[in-house]
């Protein structure tokens, strides 16, 4: 690591803040989360831009992101050099990676090919920014891979210790509790796409072997967006060229002095050049209107190609397997799939925070367009009735943040019995575990008594369960707890009409005869 500068201090502080916020994105005994890592997404100009383009309206949650964008128009890419946690991670590791030479083909307009289609797809109602957003990439790698890996490793050790020394392990319990409560994920959850998430992150680190901040200057769509805006910036380095007698800047600069003229678009304001200039010539100042902002933006064909690419992205990847759609359950409060795809930035936070590990990133269930969007898989986890966390952490409001009473009435899907599997129907014996767990106070799963002839020939009284559709919110606990192995005897299916359930006081007449009154 180089000498400590203010940029470096700021980077480390924000990285620490990011890690703390990431760990705080977890239920710790309070219904409201104080801080969560969503602050980084709300202050993220790329997610803000793409979401606003898709929503075609104002989303108040994204104000910080818009402010950073406006500020960048004056200051340049300060976000990249002072804030971005992924950039900081790269700065921390890059010193240990031996460099070969820069990759030629990355130098061209690849970054515009990434940014433009993403933004244009948003215009056509598909918000893909999160797929390549640096903070989303980092959060997903942590959520789906590194954090579970840490949890799994520590917990395996802890369990192993029990098998070794038995109850004497209790002596170490207070220490373990601190680690478990503050550092580990609460549940051991395995995620689909864990490998891909780790791979993308690792690839970005791997790119450092060609040049420093390779991802940041040549690929990152957030950096590219800020770079475009920073062309307007009046705050810049003077002189804008390498001095003929020295050229030290070319060595010091992590991003933009690979050519004769400073690439304003790529300068991340780390100020290394100013600090280490042997002749004390370099300064950063408000230079007023500047000529030549550092080369052409992009060729026209790139611009047009980007637009068309975005259009294709938004239109041609819509194919969805219909059988998967029947079970496509979205988090509570999501009323329409179209609106959801406009706003979801695929950051992974809802899946990180989900109490019962009910939410998983979609791989193909929602089509290619739905990659990484959250899905509820009831057999793995159900939506906890009183919990409102996913809405609280969603940075864009794709999952609305609702008060508890309202959230309880949100419809995720509807439960349906499979009489070929469900024990009372298929085997003519009692069960009713689903009814027991149904959290709706009036019970959306009820049962009626029936006299049946058992398969042993004897008359038996069996409780046959049924679902009251007007009360079922599709939370999935019934499917989750169904004691059948493998396939459950009751399953939640997606529904188009997700109008919230009526509140108890809005119901005029009892829905159906309540067998308990």
């Amino acid at each position: 690591m180089k000498k400590i500068t203010s940029a470096r201090i700021s980077q480390l502080l924000f990285l620490a803040l990011f890690v703390v916020m990431f760990l705080q994105t977890e239920y710790r005994g309070s219904d409201r989360l104080g801080v969560a890592v969503n602050a980084f997404f709300r202050a993220n100009p790329l997610t803000a831009a793409s979401t606003l383009l898709a929503a075609k309206g104002w989303v108040p949650l994204l104000l910080p992101g818009v402010l950073v964008l406006v500020l960048s128009a004056f200051l340049g890419r300060f976000f990249c050099g002072w804030l971005c946690p992924l950039g900081t991670v790269l700065d921390l590791v890059t010193g240990r990676i031996r460099k070969t030479s820069p990759v030629r083909w990355l130098k061209g307009s690849v970054k515009y090919w990434l940014l433009l289609p993403l933004l244009v797809a948003s215009l056509f109602n598909l918000n893909l920014a999160g797929l390549l957003d640096p903070i989303a990439i980092l959060v997903r790698a942590l959520t789906f891979f590194f954090h579970p890996l840490l949890g799994e490793t520590v917990r395996t050790g802890w369990v192993g210790l029990y098998h070794l020394i038995g109850d004497r392990r209790d002596l170490l319990d207070p220490g373990y509790r601190v680690v478990r409560d503050y550092l580990l994920p609460f549940r051991e959850t395995l995620y689909p796409l864990a490998f891909l998430s780790a791979l993308v992150f690792t690839a970005i680190v791997w790119l450092e072997r060609f040049e420093t901040r390779n991802w940041c200057r040549n690929l990152c769509p957030l950096g590219t967006l800020l770079g475009l805006v920073s062309r307007l910036s009046t705050f810049s380095r003077v002189p804008a060229r390498l001095c003929a007698d020295c050229q030290e800047c070319a060595r010091l600069c992590p991003t933009s002095f690979d050519r004769e003229i400073l690439q304003q678009e790529e300068c991340i304001l780390c100020m290394e050049c100013q600090l280490h200039c042997p002749n004390g010539r370099v300064s950063f100042r408000l230079a007023g209107a500047r000529s030549a902002a550092g080369g052409p933006v992009m060729e026209r064909r790139v611009f047009i190609g980007g637009l068309v690419g975005g259009f294709f992205l938004a239109r041609l990847f819509r194919f969805r397997d219909p059988s998967a759609q029947a079970r496509l359950l979205r988090p509570p409060g999501v009323r329409s799939e179209e609106e959801f795809l406009k706003k979801c930035v695929r950051c992974g936070e809802c899946m990180k925070v989900c109490l019962r590990s009910a939410l998983y990133p979609s791989f193909s269930q929602a089509g290619i367009e739905g990659l990484y969007t959250p899905l509820l898989i009831p057999r793995l986890g159900y939506c906890e009735y009183n919990c409102t966390l996913c809405g609280q952490v969603c940075p864009t409001g794709a999952i609305p943040s609702l008060p508890r009473e309202e959230k309880k009435r949100q419809v995720i899907g509807k439960a349906v019995f499979d009489k070929n599997h469900c024990l009372p129907f298929a085997k003519r014996i009692d069960c009713i575990v689903c009814e027991e767990h149904c959290p709706i106070p009036q019970k959306a799963i009820r049962s009626e008594l029936a006299m049946l002839t058992g398969f042993d020939g004897r008359q038996t009284q069996v409780k046959l369960p049924y679902v009251v559709d007007d009360l079922c919110n599709g939370c999935g606990i019934c499917e989750n707890v169904c004691p059948l192995e493998g396939k459950a005897g009751i399953e939640v299916f997606a529904v188009k009409d997700r109008t919230p359930l009526k509140a108890a006081d809005e119901r005029t007449a009892p829905l159906e005869a309540d067998p308990y009154r």
């Binding site: 369990v159 019962r356 009814e435 709706i440």
Partner: protein, 293 residues
């Protein structure tokens, strides 16, 4: 009554009942203590005192498990979990009797963090020394041979098995399948594995487990009971305040008495009947000595 008089009477309870009830118990007649009062903690202490005091069960240096029902993410007044004041009173009694450690846990149905917190039980026990309120750890389950009629063996929680004293503290409430859930069914909170699968034979299965795993004391929280839409309720209209706590060493007798609070007869509850038939306890309330305090 002023506090001093109150405490004096309280102090007299153990002495008064100690020899009397122990003799009766020795004679073989099960005793069910039924305490009533708006102060839940005091009512709980009265019920225990009426059985001869906690010292009968908890010796100094003992490790005690107090097993409430805190399986649901519901608040205390909704009646789905044991009332935190009842649990705290039992725990404090154990500590007073010199327990080395009191462990409180349950295998929850909803998220364990939410259940422990929102039942009010974890907050109520916060700060008490030598009291452990931990989530279950799967590695502590041990296979136990039950050799019952439907269950041959099952995983039970190690800390419950190894405790010197196990105090069963269920809440009395409605249950869709078993009609009521009381002391006998509360044992499900120390069961590992796919415990939902015993529902198909729940009465016999619970008798199988309760025949082998016997709590030293059962204290049923009937401070308020859930009369419908159990076992988790959620609607305060289904909750009835009774201000009662029932205590007995005979789990079946305790359940049988609690059943009457719902306007039902002990024979209406298949779980109670099966346990009685298995010889776990007495369900005929005429053969039970009921001590009201």
């Amino acid at each position: 009554m002023d506090r001093r008089a109150f405490l004096r009477i309280l102090g007299l309870f153990p002495i008064a009942y100690h020899w009397l009830l122990r003799d009766l118990a020795a004679a073989g007649q099960p005793v069910v203590a039924v305490a009533e009062g708006a102060n839940h903690a005091q009512t709980t202490r009265n019920a225990i005192a009426a059985l001869g005091g906690i010292g009968r069960f908890v010796k100094p240096g003992a490790t005690v498990v107090v097993k409430p029902n805190m399986g649901w993410d519901r608040s205390a007044e909704q009646g789905a979990n044991t009332h935190p004041e009842v649990v705290r009173a039992v725990v404090e009694e154990c500590l007073k009797a010199g327990a080395k450690k009191v462990k409180v846990f349950d295998r929850t149905c909803n998220d364990e963090r939410r259940c422990y917190v929102n039942s009010g039980i974890e907050p109520a026990l916060k700060g008490l020394k030598n009291v452990e309120v931990k989530h279950l750890e799967s590695e502590r389950f041990r296979k136990v041979a039950l050799n019952g009629k439907v269950i041959k063996e099952w995983e039970l929680y190690g800390e419950a098995l190894s405790a010197d004293v196990y105090i069963n503290v269920p809440v009395a409430k409605h249950h869709g399948l078993a009609k009521l859930t009381l002391g006998l069914k509360n044992v499900m909170g120390i069961m590992g594995g796919n415990r939902g699968s015993i529902h198909k034979n729940i009465d016999v299965a619970l008798a199988d487990i309760n025949a082998v795993f016997r709590p030293h004391l059962t204290i049923i929280d009937a401070t308020r009971i859930l009369t419908a839409h159990g076992p988790q309720g959620g609607d305060l209209k289904d909750v009835k305040v009774l201000n009662k706590v029932i205590a007995s060493t005979d789990i079946v007798a305790a359940d049988a008495y609690a059943t009457t609070l719902f306007g039902l007869k002990p024979e209406d509850i298949a779980v109670t009947v099966a346990a009685h038939r298995r010889g776990i306890g007495e369900m005929d309330l005429k053969k039970v000595r009921i001590v009201k305090v």
